[in-house]
Every structure is written in structure tokens, then in C-alpha cells.
Point group: none
Chain length 241, copies 2
């Protein structure tokens, strides 16, 4: 994970809280801590690690807000079994995010994941799931055809559509990554939909979604590889202009 020589591990940096987080994380990686497991109590952890309870608390709180742990008063702290979304408002990320070199990395990851989802989806064949996508596509049509609050309705429909597509890949990990990426790209996507709707390119947006459905329905892996990159990421295209 680090590309620094192992022998100069952590004379500095590596705060107490970080160390506690690492210990807990290692436990999860090694399998000692599995989803559903109960952690020792905070005082016990503090004693074992030789740190203050406040430090343990900061660590567990962080992991809690990431959706990794779950604390129940009077019961204890547990490794969470289903993962929830992060409790931080996606809007906040939007405030911070838009700029920076690493944002490009995020967009690349997004493309990689979303194309991957389509490829997996084609392999797996899920008639019902595909029907759901079709339904979401139709809802998207009506959203675009609306008279007021079109952008908002379209954005909502867009998210629902992509959720349905994401489910098609039948891979919880990939879907999870997709959902996080979509959360982090929340504001860009919202702006894109907004500007496209406002500038009367709603039909174009719709067409892009329809193409995705067609490819999925036709199981056209070739097209996915070759052409989707040019139509799927409208916001990326916009950025280049």
C-alpha cells in the first residue's frame, strides 16, 4: 500500500488515531473482524492499545461515519454487515471537489467502472433486471417531457436509471464502487444535466440513455467497448470543449 521503504515506517505522521484505525482495519483484512462481530468495549480497546479512550472513540467514530462500524449505546460497537452510504451529504463533496488533478483520476475511474458494469451485465443476462432498466428509461422519457422542474426530474430519473443498470452486473463490489463514485461526482453530473436540459439538449441526453439500453438488450459487447466511451460521458465531453 505504501511505496516507501518498510524500515522507515512511521517515526512521524501516523497519529494515534490513525494507528488505531489501522489496527482495526488490519483485523478486518485478516478476517479476525468479520461483519457482524462485536468489538471489545472502548475502555478495553483503549487499554489494549495503550491509548486514551478519546483516541479510540475518534477512530471508531470515523469508521462509523464511513459505514464500516456501527455503534449501539449500551450494546457495543459492531462491524457493520450491510454497508450503508456515507453519512456526509454528497453536496458537501461537490463544494470541495470539482477542481484538482485528482478529479481527473476520479472521472477515469468512473468510466472504467461504468463500462465494466455494462460488460459484466452483458455476460450475466438478467431479463427482469433488464426490464427494470427499460422501465427506468421510460420514466426518464416522461421526466424529460415534463413542463416544469425538468432538470431535477431528469437528474433523479438519471440516477434511478443508472442504479438499475448497476444492479445488472450482479457484483456487489463493483456496484458499491459505482455508487461511491457517483456520489463523489454528484455535483458535476447535476450541473451537466442542468445545462443540457436548459439548453434544450434533453433529447440528446435521452438518446444517450436509450443507446445504453439498446446495447444491453442486444448484448453488443463490441459496441460497448468501441462506442460507448463517446456517448456515455456527456459531461466529460463538455469538459473538453
Amino acid at each position: 500500500m505504501a511505496n516507501r521503504p518498510a524500515y522507515l515506517k512511521n517515526l512521524k505522521s501516523e497519529s494515534v488515531v490513525q494507528r488505531v484505525i489501522n489496527c482495526l482495519t488490519d483485523g478486518m483484512i485478516s478476517g479476525e473482524l468479520k461483519p457482524g462481530d462485536k468489538l471489545p468495549t472502548e475502555p478495553e480497546l483503549a487499554a489494549n492499545f495503550g491509548v486514551a479512550r478519546t483516541s479510540v472513540r475518534e477512530a471508531t467514530k470515523i469508521l462509523t461515519y464511513m459505514g464500516v462500524l456501527e455503534s449501539r449505546r449500551s450494546e457495543g460497537t459492531f462491524v457493520s454487515s450491510g454497508f450503508q452510504e456515507s453519512m456526509i451529504d454528497p453536496m458537501v463533496y461537490g463544494i470541495i471537489l470539482n477542481k484538482g488533478d485528482d478529479f481527473d483520476s476520479l472521472m477515469e475511474l468512473r468510466e472504467l467502472i461504468e463500462v465494466g458494469i455494462l460488460q459484466l451485465a452483458v455476460k450475466k443476462e438478467d431479463k427482469e433486471g433488464l426490464d427494470l432498466v427499460k422501465k427506468k428509461l421510460e420514466e426518464f422519457e416522461t421526466a424529460v417531457a415534463q413542463t416544469e422542474d425538468v432538470a431535477q426530474a431528469a437528474f433523479q430519473a438519471d440516477n434511478a436509471f443508472h442504479d438499475a443498470v448497476s444492479a445488472l452486473c450482479k457484483n456487489t463490489l463493483v456496484s458499491k464502487i459505482d455508487s461511491v463514485v457517483r456520489m463523489l461526482t454528484y455535483s458535476v453530473r447535476w450541473e451537466t444535466v442542468q445545462t443540457m436540459i436548459d439548453s434544450g439538449r434533453g433529447e440528446e441526453l435521452l438518446e444517450a440513455h436509450r443507446k445504453i439500453y439498446d446495447m444491453l438488450a442486444a448484448k453488443d459487447l463490441q459496441q460497448i467497448d468501441e462506442r460507448i466511451r463517446n456517448t456515455y460521458f456527456l459531461d466529460a465531453l463538455d469538459r473538453e470543449n
Copy 2:
């Protein structure tokens, strides 16, 4: 974000820490707190909110680890500007927690990411990085040609090779995911290398790596898409047999 009737707002939930987080995020959303801005000191915040400093700290720590805030000792806490790598940590934990019951998903993700790395690498062109990959390939050759502890040497060389390849994509997020996935697939990969070496298929292993290098050197995107899936994941092939 909530779909609960408004009138039962929050008789419960809404802890002190959560309230502090909400105040801060509201400030960011409203624009009172912009990227780069300095927050009041922890004692000041505590006094203003009428809560303990520990609660303020838990809130800011959480936001810090989410990549929203940045704390610098003796200077203060600031709204971070730009993308923070830690923002994808929730996703990483999602991968870690899910590995146990969903090994196939993990392997699919691995393929997706590693093929993605190759594609990105071809786009980005990094002569020095490519030379490093070549060097690692040569080290792999000598490792396989060794007389004792071949499997271990080969495995180590294999990891070094893939690290070098991973760096080629110049995308910290993708590389991070790759490293986590590789960490979680550690034992499978180790077993694969071991059995292949032990059964005298070392040359085959080497050949697979050489092919990857050749594709990268030739910038052969086509081959990556079409053929790599059949040679890259030897362990996956083994599993199917």
C-alpha cells in the same frame, strides 16, 4: 435524503457530534465556509455550539478523514480545497468488508481494474515507467531461473512487476483500488504461483508477464481488450478447470 415524514423529525438520532457536523456542512453548502477558509479554533467552536471540545473534535476528525477538512497543528483547521484521496476510503472499506462472502465479485473486480490499468497506461505513455516494468520483468526471469525458493522469489517479483504496471496508469485512485484488491487476493495469488512453479510451469507464468509488457510497449489496445483476459488471470483459468 430522508424519506421519513417531516413531523417526526428527530426525537432521537441527531447526536451532538452529528449536529456539529451538520452545522459545518451547512456552512459549506451555504457558502459561508469556502474551500481554503480557516475554521475557528476548537475551543471557540465548542463555546459557540455550547458543546464539549471532544465533540467538536470528533466532528472535525470525521470530516478530516472524509477529505472535507484539513487540520494543521498550531495553525488551525481549514476547509480543504480540491480532491482528497481519502474520499474514496469508504469504498475501500466496502471492498474489504465484502471480500469474505463474495469472492467471485472480488475476482471480477480485479480483472476489471487490472485491464483498466493497462488501458490507461497505454493512453498515458510513460517511457521511464515502462522501462521500470521491463526491469521488473527481467528480475522476474532471474527469479524463475533460480534454484531454490523459486516460488517465493517469483511471487515477490510478480508483485513488484504488477506494482510497476499499476504505477503506469498514473491514477492514484485506480492504483489504490488495485493495491487493495491485490492485498485481498494475496493468498490465492500466492497459491497459484506456488503450484505453477512446483509443477514446472514457470515458463508459462513468465510468458504471461512478457505478453503484458509487449502489449504495453506496442500500445496494443486491441490485444488488451481481446486477448489479455485469457492469459492474464491464470488463477482464474485454473479455477475453471
